[in-house]
Symmetry: C2
Subunit: 353 residues, 2 copies
Amino acid sequence: MSDHTSAPLGVLMGAEMAEQPDVLGGMAARFDDVSAQLKGLVSGGVAGVAFLARGSSDNAALLGRYAVELASGLPTCLVAPSVVTSYQRGTDGFAGWLIVALSQSGRTPEIVRLAGDFHRSGATVVGITNDSDSDLAREARLTIELNAGRERAVPATKTVTSQMLAVLAIAAGLTSRGQRALTGADVSVLTGAVSELLDDVEPVQRVAAQLAAHNRVAVVGRGTIYPAALETALKLQETSGMMAHGFSTADFRHGPIAVCGPDVPAVLLAGSGPADEDTREVRAQLTQRGAPSILVGTASGRTTPDVAWPLLGTAAECVLATVRGQQLALHVCRALGIDPDQPAGLNKVTLTH
Amino acid sequence: MSDHTSAPLGVLMGAEMAEQPDVLGGMAARFDDVSAQLKGLVSGGVAGVAFLARGSSDNAALLGRYAVELASGLPTCLVAPSVVTSYQRGTDGFAGWLIVALSQSGRTPEIVRLAGDFHRSGATVVGITNDSDSDLAREARLTIELNAGRERAVPATKTVTSQMLAVLAIAAGLTSRGQRALTGADVSVLTGAVSELLDDVEPVQRVAAQLAAHNRVAVVGRGTIYPAALETALKLQETSGMMAHGFSTADFRHGPIAVCGPDVPAVLLAGSGPADEDTREVRAQLTQRGAPSILVGTASGRTTPDVAWPLLGTAAECVLATVRGQQLALHVCRALGIDPDQPAGLNKVTLTH
């Protein structure tokens, strides 16, 4: 039996991580429906796609942005909520756009308010939320329910991975003619794959013990894996208080790699996508600097990962990378004797003005 | 005489920082012309504005994105170069868009290649570069020259602040009818203001000595100051190897603040904008956690900054915040006996595939 349900620290976080195969399975079963609904919603055409989010949801939004850009070729952006809320700038420029608003609780006030503003400006608002009775659901033309069950742990896990799957369904619905869209069948493998990862705790514990000896870590990934690097860094920050920094591989190797050395390891997240070989190549640069590196990802011809995830060959690998990152955060906390269910700096609902 | 020209460490970096009043003065003198040229270029209307950049230029692009969004209400986004370069996705969705491509050298291969792709897809490309004879300049309909002189120090300073002023000129040219556009007269004050900052070294040295005792720091800012927080963190990373992490205030206070404590200080950058009071308010939360905080910014009714910059009341305060960040990085290096002119991980031209 793996320790993620029996250990005294992070009981809630571990339990909610363990719900992910079911939650993702539910979303995979609705994947083709959601993608068809989305397709219907934008059948008149759409000028671009903007994502509206904060915190962990922002990392799911970033995956959405990559996936939509890749599938549709449409202009995609992440909206800065503060432009509208703090600077009182209007939303009129987004008439004809699809706005994807993400809020796990459906109650993040600035996200709800902005969703309403965008709707009134002539944009089509899609809400992604875990609460179909929330304010966000009321502002949206289409609500994608996460059906993740109540999230009681403070660090968001199951809602983040299900948000990731939801944005992939949106991207599937926006796929240009002639390109192959991701399908429910493609992502149904996540249920089994995530179960496998959650049962495969030993390599995570070994790596977590190594990381726990340091107070700084760089988490590096590129393309559709980059959102998982940011989410892994965020989870480490929030739960363990470790100064973890997520970097895009392309940026990291040309400067910020200077932060790594014998006392500062790097976690490299590398899947099977076309940008991921770059991330594997960083390992040699890190070795030259005397920096420990931990490779998490799919096996490739030349490298054996320290912690593996199965090769899917799609952007859904970001979900697997994110689960690996959750496990890392949980087990770093356990190695340090910190309870991630009661982190020092985190509130459940973000109440930014 | 201040130490930034006479000290043995970071001679080049200090010398190029000292050129900023002149370089910014030159850009301020051309500000109204650039803004008028831009206005002419898009007189037929524009669907949105996308920025294309990497590294330090990416932080100037982020300021551009905020400034353009605030001035014009147009959809604005930062393009992920890897979507096109690694995933082979086309750029057709950006027909009718204004593309602002930033490359200090004008030779960053992926930026140059993408600028050409966007042009052929029917977008209007504006290049911002320090080399008017570069490949980027040849791909652009309009080139905004930085005229910053050759940059020999590896950490970019004068080119970053002049890029920031260039994107503000673009935003000025895109300002909606009825809104007041930023003018050359508004930004001409930067020459004197930056000179003042560069002469005011003592408070920076005091704070740098404090930071140098730590190996981790959070740099926090919001809205139009957020790009300066990211740039300050990047300069600290590249030059000193310190694990500095830039955060948006709104995100930081709801989770990542857990990284701060007695051993991990935060640098708060707060100007006179409508979002900046949020950043000042974080100080109380940090104090509760026992985390040292350093306030850098304009004086406000309730707070006296540890390191000040003069109140301008415009987005050009981001330039002042960035200069303060450069000074911090330089003086942290000097306190640690590190030469920022020869940092351990940095290449001058980014050659990402």
